[in-house]
Symmetry: C2
Subunit: 680 residues, 2 copies
């Protein structure tokens, strides 16, 4: 690894180190205590820390200590990942650091378990400790499952590259078809994940190619090495596996889930994995989706498939994450009766009650595929007795590919807060979180690669950070998370903070404004998905259409005249979406085919919205770079330069979006832009 | 090589062998006599031959023989590639082959030189010998240059594959980054080429990648081996070279054509090549085109660049083929003043008189890029003192990619016969052929790969055959060439002949009918160029637009209101193309932007033509397969099966073209199809 001075440490560098009080006492046993100790040493080498003290205790030590007013029972009940925290002032001004050895604040953390203590420690490092009050607060995650998926290939894929939908260079894990020799950066990555509460990671692409399939068998040693690194941060390792493994790896004639030979094969394989990795997490599976093998070939369903693997893992406590991203990717655009948005619902909702207890059905937050804007998936809410995980995409496949600034937490937050029905109906996040009996949570596709800034666009680190924070607490405010990230990563300089806030806080809405209009989605170049191509997917088998013609645009998903998709929602949403009058503007074209002259709630016509939002968005993009230039000298030079280069590309690309969208729809509609701005 | 019985020998198999008379006398010296002798033996092993005799003589032997009535002086004047042929009956019926040893026809061939004798021999084998008359005829090529370019890579290119724009498997020459060990198929390929008169071949991609660049230096041994094989058939071998070679291979700091070190480097390299291959042909260069390096980087022009290489080759008699396929591939679609169709003209016409005598400027037949239909290139005709070669594309990049039946000779023929002006103005072919002082000719991109049928689609062999025949004689009739090919390849069964004629003769017009309308071009999927995508290139940097909107379609290339391109032609064409009234229907949208309601000369509106031609074309495609099924058992089984499979794909693809084009233009125009056929 490069020396700290030349390496980007993301949010666990000098500014985080500066949050660590000068005096730290660590009194704990347990498997992660060594991790905390090393991390204290590492941070101390980066910055001296603030005046004050931090005491870290495990529950037994705390009970045995003088902290007899701590909420021991409550903490124990909150579980192994919880921690209790108290901040007490000593009367001196916290801002006054001239007092040398004298403490200005005393922080006390008690871990509910090994991971709880680790999370409490990182909370202090990330500056999340509350102002001194003397009162204990208990912190525990809102989701049991807080997971990152890596779509890394060991061998560079000819079309998809080494990291599928990766925009940050090659794989952090693999090089030249094997696990890297030097895994120092993976160590730091695992720290970054644990510091924001991630507790599970899948280490290979869900599209499992031949080489990567062997991680399950002959290359298990590589998994052992990665598991060791992640274990030190309390993170369990998962493998993406191919449903056809009994055939391709085992030499069997079938992978039929009801075949006893197949069942025995999976049991043997699982036994071998757990013999090598006793705390192995389990499997992630993409089956019968976009060409991946699955149970359909044998006339079985997804529950049969998932339970096959679940039963092999169950004796060891392992889990199966079974993706609900299943649709017909050989759809005929001429057939208007098929609606890809319905697919996950139609496949999975009827299977509720059929899945074993250690199966988690992993559902994308929207019914399509991580678009800049789409409705929430009706699957979440339709499977009350099934463990669920909401899948989000940190990697910016459709949101600027880490070339555009796009802070995604507000978009995720909007989805997580979506109420599933009237009044006190649970939110999407609450449904996913499940219950103590059926715990669920959140899974996301990582945006990290071997790029020196981890995420290609240095500011995209904010998305990785925010994902962890929202997985821990879905009620957290996106702006507050942004502030936390800025402070831990760039420190407390007010100019830096306010500039970064300005650049990032509304960047998702900005990205939306100059790209695909009003929830229509998928106006991207086929294959790589970067840049505009209005008709790029219009006549393809992928099931993603907008039906724009000379008169109007949008997909009729109503019950009355369309695909009936709107009717899959509980009330009030079924009614809200069904009617053009009540459907929110930003989803209008997702649910309705309307004339260009349709008035939005904003008062504008659809066509004028298309014209204005693109042109206004572009103008706002032009304001980003001058603002960023003001930070020259205030953030690390190479990082400043990288962002500058990317802002130039964002300007070019936003201009392309603006001009292509405006021209396309002007050619189609023949309606002039009221503002008279140029259309080519 | 596979044994003859299991190998497809194309047009030099048993049916060709059957043309060879039972008695053959070969009396000649010279370098190719051994080739003819072996070929006689090879053919004899395939079929016994027809009754009769063939006498093959070189000019000295003929003069010394009893053939004192032969046109010796005329033949000598016709050159080394010419031959004289006479066919005499002996009174018996040619159709009666029951006479055992008795001859029914006596054929006599005298070669003007070594290649002339070879070509005369192959003419007999291909069944081109005239009916018995007793009169001598002299045959000589209409073009000095009859060349095939191979766009083969040694290493499989991640995007382009091993053969760029190749649709017949991998490379015939290379495997795993090196020349193949077994070159037996290359031997047969060289026979096939020589039999139709090809005399030059370039053996690597004009987009020269790193490995292929080394054919010029460290891998010259591979070129030596290929040259040996092609030499036996009178074919000179050329290399595509990178203009940046002095830098990339030579380690120089520049490849400036006016730099003395660069000039010396090219001389040294050329000297070394000719020391190893004394009859080496020369270089093919794509410079300053689609990202390839060239003289522009140094403020020099194409003449400077071409002459640099020409002067290194001149002492050895070598030639430079310098491609005129130069345009701005980073064009801005918003800029309507730039017209890619003008580019080659604007770059090259001003350079006439600037090129050395051993430079041949290689010009694509049309101004764009081998579209199904486009105007002829105005460059041909604009450079009267420059040696030219017209470039055609045998590989079906834009014409069905050897999945669709598409016999291209009628299209080539139409271009070659295009008169450059009023009355007796020379045709495109005549201009390209040049004069004795400035000989030119034809170059084409091959459609051959390591596919067992050579060309992917077995019927696409007809294009390779026809290319050679048209390069030899541009006045040859496309239908007659088709008959020659059928007879040599499939024999004389009448059912076979008439079915193949039906399938092939008008297949190019059929392909045009269901693809891009009225000369508009480029409505293909970007990148691979297969299948429809009306807007695929519409907003790209490639300079290929149709400007379709709700009211009309087409590119205004008039002088009056458009890009002025029509004015680059001599009269009458400048006037013919300038006016909507006189512009031929099939090029209307190439030259004019017209409303959908514009009436064609055919009486139909443009929109109805779009609807009808697509739907009618599809209906005609559906008639191909039943017709082909009638040949089951009459042509080799594997070949029949391959064509059947491809016809199914042609039906699917033609249906996709029909439906997508009809729907796109119905959405745009809002005008109903008068015939009421379904629009999706």
């Amino acid at each position: 690894m490069k020396t700290p001075s030349s390496t980007d440490l993301a949010w666990l560098g000098e500014h985080a180190a500066a949050h660590l009080p000068a005096q730290v006492r660590l009194r704990a046993d347990g498997p992660l205590t060594g991790t905390i100790g090393s991390e204290i040493d590492r941070l101390r080498s980066l910055a001296p820390g603030v005046p004050g003290s931090l005491t870290l205790l495990d529950l037994p030590q705390a009970r045995a200590s003088t902290l007899d007013d701590a909420p021991f029972e409550e903490l124990a009940a909150a579980g192994e990942e919880a921690y209790a925290l108290r901040s007490r002032g000593d009367g001196s001004d916290r801002g006054d650091d001239s007092a040398g050895d004298a403490s200005s604040a005393r922080l006390e953390v008690i871990g509910g378990g090994a991971r709880g203590l680790l999370y409490g420690f990182y909370a202090v490092v990330l500056g999340l400790a509350p102002a001194p009050s003397g009162a204990w607060t208990i912190h525990s995650p809102g989701n049991s499952i807080r997971m990152l998926d890596h779509w890394d290939n060991m061998i560079v894929h000819p079309a998809m590259g080494q990291v599928e939908r990766g925009y940050a260079g090659g794989s952090l894990f693999y090089e030249d078809g094997e696990l890297r020799e030097d895994l120092t950066r993976v160590e730091h990555y695992s720290r970054l994940l644990a510091s924001v509460g991630i507790n599970r990671v899948a280490i290979n692409n869900v599209n499992v190619h031949a080489r990567e399939a062997t991680l399950l068998t002959e290359r298990l040693g590589s998994v052992v090495r990665l598991a060791e690194i992640f274990r030190a941060q309390g993170i369990a390792v998962f493998l993406s596996v191919s449903f056809a493994s009994p055939i391709t790896l085992g030499g069997l004639a079938t992978s039929d889930p009801l075949d006893e030979g197949v069942q025995a094969w999976w049991r043997r394989v699982a036994d071998a994995v757990y013999a090598a990795i006793p705390d192995f997490g389990g499997f992630v599976v993409k089956a019968d989706s976009e060409g991946q093998p699955g149970p359909f070939a044998y006339g079985r369903d997804h529950a049969d498939g998932a339970n096959l693997l679940a039963r092999a893992l169950a004796p060891h406590g392992g889990e199966v994450f079974w993706r609900a991203f299943v649709y017909d990717h050989r759809q005929d655009w001429r057939d208007r009766s098929t609606d890809r948005a319905r697919a996950a619902y139609d496949h999975f909702a009827p299977l509720d009650r059929r899945f074993d207890d250690n199966v988690i059905v992993q559902v994308k937050h929207g019914p399509l595929d991580f678009q800049t804007r789409e409705a929430v998936s009706p699957v979440i809410g339709a499977m009350p007795t099934t463990r669920l995980a909401v899948e989000l995409q940190v990697t910016q496949e459709y949101t600027g590919q880490q070339k555009h600034v796009c802070y995604l937490a507000p978009w995720w937050s909007e989805n997580l807060r979506f109420p599933s029905g009237e009044d006190d109906a649970p939110t999407m996040a609450q449904i996913a979180a499940g219950s103590a009996e059926r715990p669920g949570g959140m899974v996301a596709v990582s945006n990290v690669g071997d790029d020196e800034f981890w995420t290609g666009h240095p500011l995209a680190q904010s998305n990785l950070f925010a994902l962890g924070r929202l997985a821990w607490d879905w009620t957290a405010d996106a702006d507050s998370i942004l502030d936390e990230w800025i402070s831990a990563t760039f420190g407390v300089d007010q100019a830096v903070r306010s500039t970064l806030r300005e650049l990032l806080a509304e960047s998702w809405l900005l990205y939306e404004s100059y790209t695909a209009p009003l929830g229509v989605g998928f106006m991207v170049r086929p294959g790589h998905h970067y840049g505009p191509d209005v008709d790029g997917y219009e006549y393809t088998p992928w099931g993603t259409y907008h039906f724009a013609d000379r008169d109007g645009i949008g997909v009729d998903r109503t019950v009355a005249t369309g695909t009936g998709y709107a009717g899959l929602y509980p009330e009030p949403w079924a009614s809200v979406y069904e009617s053009v009058d009540t459907c929110p503007d930003e989803l209008l074209l997702f649910f309705h085919h309307v004339p260009y002259t349709q008035r939005l709630h904003s008062g504008k016509t659809v066509i004028q919205h298309i014209y204005d939002s693109r042109a206004d968005g572009y103008e706002r993009v032009l304001q980003l770079r001058p603002r960023w230039q003001q930070l020259a000298g205030l953030v690390p030079g190479p990082l400043h330069e990288r962002v500058t280069t990317l802002l130039i590309e964002q300007e070019r690309s936003a201009g392309e979006w603006r001009d292509q969208l405006r021209t396309y729809f002007h050619r189609a509609s023949g309606i002039a832009d009221e503002t008279g701005r140029p259309i080519y």
